[in-house]
Each structure stands twice: as C-alpha cells, then as structure tokens.
Symmetry: C2
Subunit: 161 residues, 2 copies
DNA sequence: CATATATGTCAACATGACTGACATAAAAAC
DNA sequence: GTTTTTATGTCAGTCATGTTGACATATATG
C-alpha cells in the first residue's frame, strides 16, 4: 500500500474529499429547503409552489416553456401547481404580444408578498454563510457550484469579468 | 436613489448576490440528483434508496436512529425503503452487541457494488468541478456550504486545522 | 393550406413524504 | 424486581409531486 509510513494515501484523501462534497450538498439542500416548508404549509402549498413562485418572481413575464426548462418537470406536473397559484391569485397569466399562444406569467401583489416571505429565510441563511465565510470564499463557492451545474445552464451564472 | 451617478446600488448588488446563491444551489442539486436516477430506475428504486445506501455505506454498522437523524424523515418513511433494500439483499441488519435493541445496518457485497455505481457519477461531477475551480475555490466552497448547514450538523465537517 | 409550436387537460400511476395508533424487546431507572 | 423509557417495527390512511400517454385548441410559420 502507498504511504504506509506517512499514513497518508492520496487516493483515499481524494475519495474523502469528494464524498465530503457530496454530503455538504445533501445537508445544505436539506436545511435550505426545510425552512420555507413551514410557511408553505400554512397556505396549503408545497416546495413545488415555492419553486414556481420564486422563478416567476425572478423572471417576470416568463413563458410556461421557459419555466418548464428551468424546473425540468413535465407540463402536467407544473400545470397542477401553477393552476392552483393562478386560481388563488398569486400569479397572473396574459397572452404574449409577439406570440399570442404564450401565457406570460407574473406575480400579483399577493404573490410578491408570499415570495418575499418565503425567500427571506433562504436569503438570510445565505447572507450569514457568506458573511462568515468572507468574500474570497464566496468566489470559490460560486466557481465550484457553477462547475457542478450542467453545461447548458452555466451561462445563467456569468463568471467574474 | 443611491448611486444614481455610478449606476451601482450596493443593496441591489447584495440582493442579486444572495439570489444567485439560491439559484446555484437549486440548479446544482437538480443536476446532481438527476444522474443516479437513471440507474436507480433500472433497479426499481428511487432517490430515497440511494440516500439510504449512501449513508449506510458511509457509516457501516450505523443504527436506524442515526440514519433517521441524518435523513430527517419519519421511521415509517424510512421503513419502506430500508425494508426493500434488506429484502432484496442490499443491506443486512444485525443486533447491536452493547445494545441488543439496535439493528446495525451494513451494506452487502451487492449493496457496495450498487453504491459504487450510483455514487460514481456524483463523484465524477465533483471531481471535475473541483479540478476546474482549483484548490482555493474548493476551500471557499467548503466554508460557505458548511455555513449553510444547520449548526447541529456542522461538526460533521470539521474546518481546516 | 399544411404543419409545427405553445399551452392545456384528462386519466392513471409511482414515489416518498406525512400522521396516528399500536406492538415488542431490551435497557435503564427506581 | 417492577416500572418506565428507548429502539425499532408495523398497519392504515393521506397528501404532494413526480411520471406516461392521449388528445384538444389556438396561433405561428413554411
């Protein structure tokens, strides 16, 4: 075996390092999503609703196709949550002007308020983590995260210029 | 409005920065989990099975309670997937020696093989991202991710000594 | 005019979470 | 040594969120 004397096996270290990454992602996502769930439950909503509200709030006047492309779910799955959100007045749909087949999505005042309330927790979590880690670490975080994402979606996160 | 002349509003930048973090986490997790799903489907398993296999592989002889504490799901939910994995010979249970109420969990050969196959994709994804980002960025990534995790679970990821 | 596209809808199903109630065996406390 | 707590399992029912497949409508495009 390699490095019996030093007790360090570089391959083992690498394996350890990679598994740590996997676990960091698991735990971070678990805790990151747990907080808004409490609020969502009060509205009778789930995580899927949060995702829709989030991305519609982030990309006003986005089309259903665009949203489907981000969420990577089927239109039938989206239809249920989106339908509820429209029905209950959190999101409005209006036909596109250039292409009248499109249903452009937008948050209502009520939707904006819920989005703010939901995302606030997550923003606070990031703000704390960023502050404690420092600017340089944040840059490293971005770099690695960007590299984890499928190539098609990396342009959504332009690197440092 | 602040900084009309420079066109820079620091509060807006901060908001942008935090939202980018939120989105990085969403996309990374989405793509990170998508790959093993293909293999799991061939076995008639889902993501929940992968999580159980992963953590049992990582912590041999772990108890059911420990596993529940990591996954943060109910024992009823765990019971189904764990039961299947035991039934189909991927995991074995044996009573603890110190405390004979415990059922210590362990991967079988078959389980180890499946774990390897499943996690390999994710390890490769991390390996590439780490390599492209560089050692310093990886350190920043770790720092931020650790800060995102609930305080109780941070000791699982000791900082740099 | 024919075809492709954007969207929606109906139906059936699978997975993985939940709550609540109850059961058993072993450890720990008194 | 009896009582209580703990670790685990199980039965039953429900819900949220994903899937596939088929079909419908309106509009854009060739």
């Amino acid at each position: 075996m390699t490095d019996i004397k030093t007790g360090i096996n570089p391959l083992f270290l690498r394996e350890e390092e990679l598994r740590q990454g996997i676990e960091l992602l698991f735990y971070a996502y678990r805790d990151f999503t747990a907080e808004p769930d409490v609020i969502l439950a009060q509205y009778g909503f789930g995580r899927a609703h949060h995702r829709v509200i989030y991305f519609v709030g982030r990309n006003p006047a986005m089309t259903v196709s665009e949203l489907l492309g981000i969420l990577r779910i089927t239109k039938q799955s989206l239809s249920r949550v989106l339908g509820q959100l429209v029905e209950e007045g959190f999101i409005t749909q209006r036909p596109g002007t250039r292409d009248r087949r499109q249903r452009l999505l937008e948050l209502t005042e009520k939707g904006i308020e819920l989005e703010r309330q939901l995302t606030e927790r997550q923003r606070t979590r990031f703000a704390r983590a960023y502050r404690e880690a420092g600017a340089e670490a944040v840059e490293g975080f971005r770099k690695v995260m960007r590299g984890l994402i499928d190539e098609v979606d990396r342009p959504r996160f332009p690197g440092r210029r």
